[in-house]
Amino acid sequence: MFESFLAAELTKRIGTPVEIAMSDGFVEGIITSVTGNLLTILQTVGYGYGTTTTPLTISIPAINFVTFSPVA
């Protein structure tokens, strides 16, 4: 079903579009990799942090929640 740890569960979902909420903002993108406690995404919407052209690395403990939208 679900993995015990968020990092492991996110690893299973590489390539999936997600919204990630931190304490003071959120980003939208596609998960490209998970390394230890770091999550890397390619942003699809240009607000929040960084730009859409460079990958954004996020500290997993800093994440408030991860949202998966239902398939339209």
Partner: protein, 182 residues
């Protein structure tokens, strides 16, 4: 006893025959001794075979063929055995390496999980509280936003909340500020 009268000519012939018979064993023995001596002095099988062949005693082609086929069979057997042993060694080595890698990976993952649990702030009380609210509609507040939905699962460091429109949220346990059932 029977006494036969023999002519002097017949006596002479008989004596000659006896003499010939007496010398025959000596000739045969000396030939055998010569052959044995030759065989003993042969340094290898080939020489012995040649000697036998020269003396017209044995058809050496039979022995040569037998030796050749024996050599071929032994060589084939050795090759097959070596190949099988090599295959077996390779398979064993690969299996052992795989097993070792799997064990190492499993042990490392277990250690990482244990360290994570040890380093996490004590979330047991929150996890127990949330576990009691499984399948209920709850409100979870975080610093960023308050989420409302059905609590689907509670894991080691996150909870799964599904909203009414099907949106799924993985909420970091260490970022949950308040919990309320609706």
């Amino acid at each position: 006893m029977i006494i036969l009268a023999l002519s002097s000519e017949a006596k002479a012939r008989l004596l000659n025959l006896l003499g010939t018979l007496q010398t025959l064993p000596t000739t045969a023995t000396s030939t055998t001794n010569n052959l044995l001596n030759t065989a003993n002095s042969s340094t290898n099988v080939t020489e012995l075979l040649n000697t036998l062949n020269t003396n017209g005693l044995v058809d050496t082609s039979l022995i040569t063929n037998l030796l050749n086929s024996t050599t071929t069979n032994v060589t084939d057997l050795l090759n097959t055995t070596t190949a099988s042993a090599t295959d077996l060694l390779n398979t064993t080595t690969a299996t052992a390496t795989g097993l070792l890698n799997t064990t190492t990976t499993a042990t490392t993952n277990l250690l990482i999980d244990l360290l994570r649990l040890r380093l996490l702030p004590s979330l047991n009380a929150l996890r127990n509280d949330l576990t009691n609210r499984l399948n209920q509609t709850v409100q979870l507040s975080t610093e960023y936003e308050t989420l409302t939905g059905v609590l689907l699962a509670v894991l080691s460091d996150y909870a799964v909340l599904v909203e009414s429109d099907g949106t799924m949220n993985f909420v970091n346990l260490s970022k949950i500020e308040t919990v309320a059932s609706l």
